[in-house]
Structure formats: structure tokens, C-alpha cells
């Protein structure tokens, strides 16, 4: 898509501490130049996604739903790469582990599925955790979203190379797998011709939501159960997003920092639905203009998927590293909806992928019984939203559970402070 008139690049596009700005107002920046430096261990670098001038650094709406420090860049139209970046593909096999990890860290690669966990941190688990499996998450189970799907079909070699690079960081032979929902046969075919010679399994998974949730994916591929409070590496697994694998390849072999990503633009109310490769910092309104505008019936714009995404409050918000999709919908049920009494139909219990009792968690959350709710497995909830989807009484089950989680974690912080 054409270069927008202005790019707004938030300094917090990842889990952890926001990056520290390293440019000033009126500085000239090149494409790929560092504008925000990782601040601490769990943080990530942020780069300029085109060349131009820094117009301002101030708080700006963020797709996460808050205001966040943002670097505004007015492009100069030349789109010039900073020196040493965007090189011809080099072979990664000669590089040392430290070199690869440093390149990933320098490029600001984070988990692009939604959480935005810094990838170099994920790839350096504590030494006592033995990793024997790396899984690429090509399930993309959220309805509407097809960004990873297109990436798998269009650049399978980069996906496979990214996975190989990540595997080279661990000793011994690892089980490498790419899990893809069976409704994407073209992606499975495309990956198979590159993956099979490299002894990477491409597995067709049952199409269901939430197949792409980390814990469900690990269970589907390895049969292991990641229990309450456990992380994948406790079970010897690392799960990475398809987009992340491509970003790792770009960072290591082509010296390209993470400055653009594939975004699915979809929903009933946008003129042209498509997947676009958007620069980080492109505002949603630029994307709307590029896709032919949205209808007047639009009353919700969602960053992410329809099950776990967030409704945004301003069209000025930019695409960030974790924006997998932008949906334009007319949610006519909104406003009419009212939470009604639970009729104990048991559907939430039936659909919960984590085997919880969402109706009860929501009841206890409404009563703010924070001790009790933890005993009911609060930490086990992955917030997939299936319970709210099926509830015939229209209860905001997952919302109440998230609310309780926020209360519990703020109480813990207060205790430890």
C-alpha cells in the first residue's frame, strides 16, 4: 500500500516495559533505524518503518485501548534504508547462537500472534528447562483472520527457514512441527514441499476454535498437558507464530528489523476485504482509505480477531507488531444485549477448552470472592471467549473472568510492593 502521510509508531508494541525513545523531535531517521530501545530484559526494540523526520513524541491512542507514548514520523518519500540493513540473504548456518539471538533482539521481533512476547526472551528459556519440541502455530483459529494463512502460502520457504533458525539455538535433535488447521490445504501443500526435506512435520489439525491457543496446540501435537500456572517450556515446548518465524528469518538472514507485517482487513462493512502488508505505524484510517472505505453501518472496529480482539475507540490507532487483523462490523445486537439469569444449560462447561466452569467463575467474580475464584482455576482460563460465545443468556462470562484476573493481579502487586 502507498506510503501514508504520517506514521505513528508506539514505543510499546510488546509485552513488558515500553521501549525508551532514542530519537528527538526533528531528527532525521532512515528506514529501519532504531527509534526506541529495549528497556530491560522483557522489552523490545522499535524501529522507524520509513525514512523521514520525527515530528513529535507524545501519547497517542493505541490499539490496546489506552494512550501510549508514540513516535510520529513524517515520511520524506524516499523510503531509504539505514546502512547495513536489508542486505541480500546471507546464510545463517555460520552464525553462532549468541549472534542469532542478538540479531533477533536487535530487530525487535516479538510474538506476532497477539501477546507480543519478545521472541529472543522466549528463545532463551531458563537453563534447567530442556526444550525438545518447537511448534509453529499455523492454526489461525480465529474466524475472519487469514494473515498467517496467506503468509504460509506465499512465503513458505521463509517460514521453514525461520523455524530452522530457531531450532538451531537448542542442542540435540528437536521435534519440529507446523500445526495447520485442516481447512487450509493450500498452506499445508505449500509448506510440505519445503518442510518435509528438513524433517519438519506439517500436521493437519481439526478445524475448531481455539485450536491455535498455545495450550491446545501443544496438546494436539505432542499430547502433553500444560497445567495451571505452567508455561510451555515446563513441558519442553516452544510455540511460535507463523509471522514471528518469518520475522526471525528476515532479522537473521536479511538484517531487516520488524517494521511491517501482514494484516487481515475484513468484516462485512469494509469495501474490499484483503490481506495487506502494512508498515508498523500506519493508522487504521489510512488502511480504511486504501481498502475503499467502510460503510456507514459500521459501529465497531476491532483490532485482532472477533473472539479475542479489542474494539478500538479511535480510527487514529496505528498498526502495531501484534495487529493480526482489523475487522469492520455492524454489531446490531449491541445496546440491546442484557445479561440474563443463568439457566444452567451447561454449554459453557461443555465448550471450555480448559475444563473450567465459566458460569461459576463469573458468579464468584461478580461477588469479588478473589480467594475462592483462584481455587476454581482462574489462572487456567486462556480467555478464548468460547463460553461467552455460546451463552444463551448473553452473560459476559469471559469479561467477568478477565475482571477477576485483573483484580487478583493488582492485589498481588500491592502485596509484593
Amino acid at each position: 500500500m502507498p506510503l501514508p502521510a504520517e506514521l505513528s509508531i508506539p514505543l510499546s508494541q510488546h509485552l513488558g516495559k515500553p521501549a525508551k525513545p532514542v530519537v528527538r523531535m526533528n531528527d532525521e531517521v532512515k528506514k529501519g533505524q532504531l527509534v526506541g530501545e529495549a528497556d530491560g530484559f522483557i522489552s523490545a526494540n522499535v524501529h522507524a518503518s520509513t525514512s523521514g523526520k520525527v515530528r513529535a513524541i507524545r501519547p497517542h491512542p493505541h490499539p490496546g485501548g489506552q494512550y501510549a507514548m508514540t513516535v510520529f514520523i513524517t515520511p520524506d518519500g524516499k523510503d531509504e534504508w539505514a546502512e547495513g540493513l536489508n542486505s541480500a540473504p546471507v546464510d545463517w548456518k555460520g552464525m553462532s547462537k549468541e549472534e542469532i539471538l542478538k540479531k533477533i533482539r536487535d530487530a525487535g521481533v516479538v510474538g506476532m500472534g497477539g501477546a507480543g512476547f519478545p521472541t529472543n526472551v522466549k528463545l532463551s528459556p531458563p537453563p534447567d528447562k530442556k526444550i525438545d519440541t518447537i511448534i509453529l502455530n499455523g492454526a489461525e483459529c480465529e474466524p475472519f483472520l487469514t494473515a498467517d494463512h496467506r503468509l504460509m502460502v506465499e512465503s513458505p520457504e521463509a517460514v521453514v527457514a525461520g523455524l530452522e533458525i530457531m531450532a538451531s539455538l537448542f542442542p540435540g535433535t528437536l521435534k519440529l512441527a507446523i500445526g495447520i488447521e485442516a481447512n487450509k490445504p493450500d498452506a499445508i501443500d505449500a509448506l510440505q514441499q519445503y518442510a518435509v526435506p528438513k524433517k519438519i512435520e506439517v500436521l493437519a489439525l481439526k478445524t475448531k476454535y481455539p485450536q491455535g491457543a498455545e495450550k491446545q496446540l501443544i496438546n494436539a501435537i505432542t499430547g502433553r498437558n500444560v497445567g495451571e500456572g505452567e508455561l510451555p517450556f515446563d513441558r519442553g515446548c516452544i510455540v511460535q507464530n507463523i509471522g514471528t518465524a518469518v520475522a526471525v528469518y528476515d532479522a537473521v538472514c536479511r538484517n531487516r528489523p520488524l517494521i511491517e507485517r501482514v494484516v487481515t482487513v475484513s468484516g462485512m462493512e469494509i469495501a474490499r476485504q484483503k490481506n495487506i502488508s502494512a508498515r508498523i505505524g500506519t493508522s487504521f484510517s489510512d488502511i480504511i482509505a486504501f481498502c475503499g472505505g467502510m460503510s456507514e453501518k459500521t459501529n465497531q472496529v476491532i483490532s485482532g480477531g472477533p473472539m479475542m480482539g479489542k474494539a478500538i475507540f479511535s480510527l487514529d490507532v496505528p498498526v502495531v507488531k501484534t495487529t493480526s487483523g482489523i475487522l469492520f462490523i455492524n454489531n446490531s445486537a449491541l445496546g440491546k444485549s442484557r445479561e440474563r439469569a443463568c439457566i444452567r444449560c451447561g454449554r459453557c462447561v461443555e465448550v471450555c477448552p480448559q475444563g473450567l466452569a465459566p458460569w461459576l467463575l463469573a458468579n464468584v467474580a461478580q461477588l469479588r470472592q478473589l480467594e475462592k475464584i483462584q481455587l476454581l482455576g482462574l489462572a487456567n482460563c486462556t480467555e478464548c471467549g468460547s463460553c461467552t460465545y455460546v451463552c444463551p443468556s448473553g452473560r459476559e462470562l469471559v469479561h467477568w473472568i478477565k475482571y477477576a484476573k485483573a483484580l487478583v493481579s493488582s492485589r498481588k502487586q500491592r502485596k509484593s510492593a
Partner: protein, 325 residues
């Protein structure tokens, strides 16, 4: 670009089309074959009974909502289902004033005193039926004969079994007729065929699962079969128990009532087993010829216990995990 009013709301942004209304109206639809069958068997009087029950239930629902200052719930379908179930649970010649009292008991005493839809412990229609049975035993047990022209009444097959023994009961009823429904009984409970057709719809729409019906019917069948094998002269064969009385109606439409049955699968298995065993025990040795309503109501009372057992079990698992990690 058009200026738009963006709404912010909680995820997920897509929701099921199912609602309380769709659940209730589908249950009502599933009861339609049995209702039509009862009109065919017992004449226009059955239709009148159905209408009186439904209208008075909806009326009392509205009244209770108004008194309790709650948002109107009288058209959400739950009162309709309660009224329909109550109608199908009584003989077609019951006086209208008794029906209205029954509706009042169902809606006011069994549902709204507990807090309305979703909070009642006992199935409202069954509470009303048992109330009527205890208050007006004569009227509730004089069953019109199918296709009768002059309001001719007779005992039900289960009643004959209780008073005159197996031989007389078996002689009074051809099991095939029992399956189709041409026998004496409450309006909607006679036709196993029509009820199974409705239950099939509920299975298809996934509003009920097989857990409760299977364990309930299975335990009645096994229990009665064992005693029939021990002494065929004293105990009726299991198939006789299957097609008579309110077993099929109760199993598929009242024991599976979402509000008054356990949530977890294993809880439902226990619940179904309890309902079946109690039904069989009451039928074989109880003072009443029919035990389905009592059995379900008794097990309804155990549901909170079953649910909390299941939850404490889960809690214990979580606690054990958090100790070890």
C-alpha cells in the same frame, strides 16, 4: 471518510444466535407431537386444557414479575413450556379451576419464590403435578379412555398393576398400543412414539444430551428386568414399565430440564441413575402406582449437592496442583 460512532464492548464480538427464547421455544416445539397426539386421543377438551394451562402460566409469570418489580419475562418461553408440561401431565378431564391452581403453584410457589427463571430448585411443572395429585387424588387418577364419547374413565395400566396385579395389567394393555399411545393416562404421557419424536428434535438441536435419559431409562429397565426375571408373576416385564406412565415424558422433558439438573457429565449420570432407581422402587413397592414425578423431584433436591461435590472435586485437583508446583 464518514464519521462514525465507534462502540467499544467486551470480546468476543460474535455471539451465538441461541437465546433463552430459542431454547424454550424449541422445547415447546419438541412437545408439539405429544400435544397433537393428545388432542387426537382425548378430543378438543385436551386442547382447552393445554390453552388454559399455558395462558394461566404466562399470566402468573407476568403477575409475579410485576409484584417482584423484575423485567418482564412472561414471553421468554419458560412459562409457555411450564404450562405445556403441566397440561401434558394431567388427565384431560381435570376441571379448569384445578388447572389454574396448578399453574399458580408452578409459577409462583415453585419458580418465583426461588428467584425466577434459573434459580428454581424443583421443576415447576412437576411440583404443580404432585401438588394436584396430593390435593385432588380422585380427579388426578380418573383417566379418560381414548376416543371416548361420553367422558368414560378408567384406571391407567400402572393403576391396574398396583391394584389387580401383573396378569390383569398385561391383559389391559397391548404393548404396541402403549407405544403408539392409545391407552389411558395423562394427556401427553401416553404416546411413547410422539414423545420420542420430540426428544429426537432436542437431541438434534443439542439442547439435551444422552447422559440423563440413558442412565434413567437404563436403570428403570435393568431394575424392573431383574425383578421380572426373579418372579414374573409378581413383577411386570420391563417393556411394560417403559411404555406406561410418565416415564418417557419425564425422562426426556423434565429430568433433562436445564435449570434443575446437574451441570457436569458425571453429575448428570448420577442424577439419571437416581431418577431411574427411585422411579422403579416407587413403582414396584411404593404407595402410588406412578413414581416418575416423585423420583425427579427428589433428585432435583440433590442437584446442588451433586454440583458442589463435583466442584469440590475440581477444586481439590487445583489445590493439589498448586501445592506441587
Amino acid at each position: 471518510m464518514p464519521s462514525v460512532n465507534l462502540n467499544v464492548s467486551y470480546a468476543p464480538f460474535v455471539r451465538t444466535k441461541d437465546s433463552i427464547e430459542s431454547v424454550m421455544y424449541n422445547v415447546a416445539l419438541a412437545l408439539a407431537p405429544a400435544t397433537i397426539m393428545s388432542v387426537w386421543l382425548f378430543g378438543m377438551r385436551a386442547l382447552l386444557v393445554t390453552l388454559v394451562c399455558i395462558l394461566s402460566c404466562i399470566g402468573f409469570e407476568w403477575l409475579m414479575d410485576t409484584i417482584r418489580k423484575k423485567p418482564a419475562s412472561c414471553l421468554d418461553g419458560s412459562a409457555l413450556v411450564t404450562g405445556l408440561l403441566l397440561a401434558l401431565n394431567v388427565p384431560s378431564n381435570l376441571p379448569f379451576w384445578m388447572l389454574i391452581i396448578g399453574s399458580f403453584i408452578a409459577i409462583a410457589a415453585a419458580k418465583h419464590v426461588f428467584g425466577g427463571l434459573g434459580y428454581n430448585i424443583f421443576n415447576p411443572a412437576l411440583v404443580a403435578r404432585v401438588f394436584l395429585l396430593i390435593s385432588f387424588p380422585a380427579a388426578m387418577t380418573s383417566w379418560p379412555v381414548p376416543f371416548a364419547v361420553d367422558m368414560e374413565t378408567a384406571a391407567s395400566p400402572l393403576g391396574i398393576l398396583k391394584t389387580d396385579g401383573v396378569a390383569a395389567a398385561m391383559k389391559s394393555l397391548d404393548l404396541v398400543n402403549g407405544f403408539y399411545g392409545t391407552m389411558n393416562g395423562s394427556m401427553g404421557e401416553t404416546s411413547t412414539l410422539a414423545l420420542l419424536a420430540g426428544a429426537g428434535w432436542l437431541f438434534y438441536k443439542r439442547y439435551i444430551t444422552f447422559h440423563i435419559p440413558l442412565t434413567m431409562l437404563g436403570s428403570v429397565f435393568l431394575f424392573t428386568a431383574i425383578f421380572h426375571l426373579i418372579d414374573p408373576a409378581a413383577y411386570a416385564p420391563p417393556l411394560f414399565h417403559m411404555v406406561t406412565g410418565g416415564l418417557i415424558l419425564g425422562t426426556f422433558f423434565m429430568a433433562t430440564d436445564m435449570v434443575t439438573s446437574p451441570l457436569s457429565v458425571r453429575g448428570q449420570l448420577i442424577f439419571g441413575l437416581g431418577c431411574g432407581l427411585l422411579t422403579a422402587i416407587i413403582r414396584l413397592w411404593g404407595g402410588y402406582p406412578e413414581g416418575v414425578s416423585f423420583a425427579i423431584l427428589i433428585m432435583n433436591g440433590f442437584v446442588p449437592l451433586i454440583d458442589s461435590w463435583d466442584l469440590n472435586d475440581r477444586k481439590a485437583i487445583h489445590q493439589k496442583k498448586s501445592v506441587t508446583t
